[in-house]
Subunit: 525 residues, 2 copies
């Protein structure tokens, strides 16, 4: 029931005639219900993806033209093929490399852009479509005097009604109620003659069937958009699917199977004139609240839309565009996550700044630049964390056989000629330099150092670079009369050391089961 | 002394007149000696960079033309600016993200390409410059009948002489000796009239001073080459500098200061008509063996080259090109690392295949594609390692208060209704899904599970995504009557949990100092 107004609204947002929102709410839902792993996920037109469609296709063809429609459908095919490929090659894990703050910042900014782009429908004025909020706001400010107050009142009443019904957790679907009421009001009071813009004729009947026209030039132009939608759509879907699955726990979500389901839904949809779809927050929640237990719920929704397409489209003639704008605005402003922003400010300044950077990049430079910034920030953080692992200098807690980080345990005492060091990560090429640097720094700092004990209990694996570095370090230290020994080496690491014949190369007396054992052999305990 | 023949040889390799190799061996050395941190590193023309110059500039201008020379000098300026920028912004750590096997595979392939490109000089035949070895070999095969056997004999004798002197660890510089002998032989026996190609007139005098001509189009064309040389050159330099520093240990290498030193050397060099330079393996080793203790050694070398430029260039007239080819071939074939390949095959199949992939990509698709593949492989591995941390299910060693990975310790016993799990990495956005997946999998596998104990001793930090996931997981598990508790949480993690008010949210009884304590509270010990 929510699907009808939302579908039409998102089609409009995507720059397409409203009927395409209904097309996108049929076949893809059925295909996803068959191939997807979530039982409650509501697939269909979604605000963020609709915006990305308008953004990407809008650069290649005039909004709403035949060519534009053809490109949007071709885009669905490309998104589908991309997602299907990712799924088949089991690359679903890639999506984990976008951090939550980055996603939150991006989503909030996109929601703001989407919502403000609806201002024109709400005010009944002309504002050129734009992805830069300062431009939207300045246009709106200049054209504000032309506001159609009847349109505005309808829009604001609709927003109020939807919000109140939502707050009351009523079972009455707000969007549908406002749609019905508004159609009646416009029809009865003839409001369209007073300048309230209405949807007009919505052609009935089922979509024609056929492959989109392939065109290499167009496909090249659409590629960045297809990749962005493929990833963002999947990310949104999987996030929603996981959240809902966690509530039920009677089935499992498989990220790769989800990709395959979404991919096939988009490919199949594109054959039936659908634009790109994915799983969305709001309808999934409604789906779940209404007690959907299996994919049948989606199939029933799709069949209802098909019935609508066949018989009910004339009813939408008097639907005001401002109502669709209200539906979109309520949906997307709910996505703006102020709470998370405040929470991060209090608890994690680094994540806070990542959120803020992504948010402002998206707002000022655009959607795709925003998501790219997010990817770079996330990757950069992963690389940084890999390169700078936690390394602690240990001291002995007096009276106990326990060794702790001297920075956190001031009572921990170091030995005069012995350095005990703990490396809290696997040792591999990205962090060998950090390992070398700390050894070098400590050796230079301590005169008369005789022994270094590496507490290796947190080291789970060594790669070939790490083995080289260890042997080099040990040999160089030996030349300086410093003995480097290992304590608490784990099984897998011991295996690698044996394969590399480290024991043969180094001789005896390099491996101990505990720090105290390594100390005893040094006649200090 | 090695610098003269090598400098001229590498200039030739870079597609420049030999004199430019001498220009590149003056000012940059002096500048590096002032700003660099290594005391033995020999900066100057280097084979790999020379090849990259020929590769990059060769696409924009005819080899050896005036325009070509101007572009090579402009390239040095760009490389210098790039390195200086990296150094100033302290981005030297970026270089650690290329793994050793990748560097080894790339170096070996580049060495092979460089060496085989010298075949034409060694055989005295015409082979078009090419970066694809199958093309070089097929050209050489076709033109083999035209081989000038005198040239070939000179070349092979020179190679033999250099190799023997090197093997004997003689203090006599092989390249210089062969240069002197060959000049005398050609001069005395008039070999140039028999088809032995000689260097010919080398113009004397110092390089003219002046900024390279900036040209936006050319700079755009050169940009990928400049970035590649900037990184590769720095990587080679720092690897050599660190290796030598490890032998001495009386000073420290600072990667960022090295970048600044190299950057200034290239910028300054480019003002004195030098092409891109960096620190090279062979001459640094010689420098060190001859007892260089400070940067003064480099300054003296540079002054000797200046004297050569002023007075000795006419002496090189009869120098056969085959000799320079021999010098290059011996130098670069030494870089091919068969030992590492065999070693990795035996000890680390993953690193072995990374080496092989980079090697063959470089050989078949080209230098820049090779290094790009290497970067992607290395990054991919870092991301993969971040996404799939080591997670162990623990069991109790009977009779002891010790809990170990049940996969490695078959005697470790699990408890019926309790799952003890150890997560061996910091928990952050890239691996939260791995954490969730393992919990989910184990919960589904075990009926009647009542408690999950997370041994958090290896977790050094939590980001905001991790905090969310932990709270969500704990609450969802609670709904299923499974209690999730923490054991051995480290100080920094405890701080983050407190900031996020996890104790307030969860209530008491979630944090224990040890696994046995967490078990006791459950009335099972």
């Amino acid at each position: 029931m929510m699907l009808i107004p939302q579908g039409m609204a998102y089609a409009l947002l995507a720059g397409l005639p409203p009927i395409y929102g209904l097309y996108a709410s049929t076949i893809p839902l059925i295909i996803y219900a068959i191939f997807g792993t979530s039982r409650q996920l509501a697939v269909g037109p979604v605000a963020m993806v609709a915006l990305l469609v308008a953004n990407g296709v809008g650069e290649l063809a005039p909004l709403g033209s035949e060519e534009y429609i053809a490109l949007a459908i071709l885009l669905a095919m490309m998104v589908g093929l991309f997602q299907l490929t990712l799924g088949i090659f089991r690359l679903g894990f890639l999506v984990n490399f976008l951090s939550n703050p980055v996603i939150s910042g991006f989503t909030s900014a996109a929601a703001l852009i989407i919502g403000l782009n609806q201002l024109k429908h709400l005010l009944g004025i002309e504002i050129p479509r734009n992805n830069h909020i300062h431009m939207i706001l300045s246009h709106a400010y200049n054209a504000f005097s032309e506001t159609n107050y009847i349109t505005l009142s309808i829009g604001i009443s609709a927003i109020a009604l939807i919000v109140v019904l939502k707050k009351m957790k009523s079972k009455i679907p707000g969007p549908l109620v406002t749609v019905i009421i508004s159609i009646l009001v416009v029809y009865i009071f003839n409001l369209d003659s007073l300048g309230v813009k209405i949807i007009g004729k919505v052609p009935g009947g089922l979509p024609t069937v056929g492959f989109p026209t392939f065109n290499v030039d167009a496909m090249q132009g659409l590629l960045p958009t297809a990749l962005t939608i493929g990833l963002i759509g999947f990310m949104e879907s999987i996030a929603v699917a996981k959240a809902i699955q966690l509530k039920h726990k009677n089935y499992k979500i498989d990220a790769n199977q989800e990709l395959i389901g979404l991919g096939l839904a988009n490919i199949g949809g594109s054959i039936f004139r659908s634009f790109p779809v994915n799983g969305g927050y709001s309808r999934t929640a409604v789906n779940d609240q209404s007690g959907a237990k299996t994919g049948m719920a989606s199939i029933i929704s799709a069949l209802l839309i098909i019935l609508t397409l066949l018989f009910l489209t004339p009813l939408f003639y008097f639907l005001p565009k401002a109502i669709l704008a209200s539906v979109i605005m309520v949906a997307v402003f709910g996505l703006i996550d102020w709470k998370e922003l405040i929470h991060l400010w209090k608890t994690d300044k680094r994540d806070f700044s990542m959120l803020l950077i992504t948010f402002f990049t998206t707002l000022t430079f655009g959607i795709q630049q925003g998501i790219l910034t997010g990817i770079i920030l996330s990757m950069g953080l992963i690389l940084f964390k890999s390169a700078y692992p936690h390394i602690a200098i240990l001291g002995k807690i007096p009276g106990l056989n326990i060794y702790r980080n001297i920075k956190r345990f001031p009572q921990a005492k170091e030995f005069d000629n012995i350095l005990i060091i703990r490396f809290d990560a696997q040792l591999f090429f990205a962090n060998t330099h950090a390992f070398q640097n700390v050894i070098e720094k400590e050796v230079i700092k301590r005169k008369g150092l005789q022994k270094i004990i590496l507490n290796a209990e947190a080291i789970n694996s060594l790669d070939s670079s790490a083995v080289h570095i260890l042997i080099d370090t040990i040999e160089e230290l030996r030349k300086n009369n410093i003995k480097f020994v290992f304590a608490c080496v784990k099984g897998p690491v011991r295996d690698i050391m044996e394969k590399n014949r480290m024991k043969d190369k180094l001789g005896d007396g390099y491996f101990y089961n505990s720090i105290s054992e390594a100390l005893e052999k040094h006649n200090i305990a």
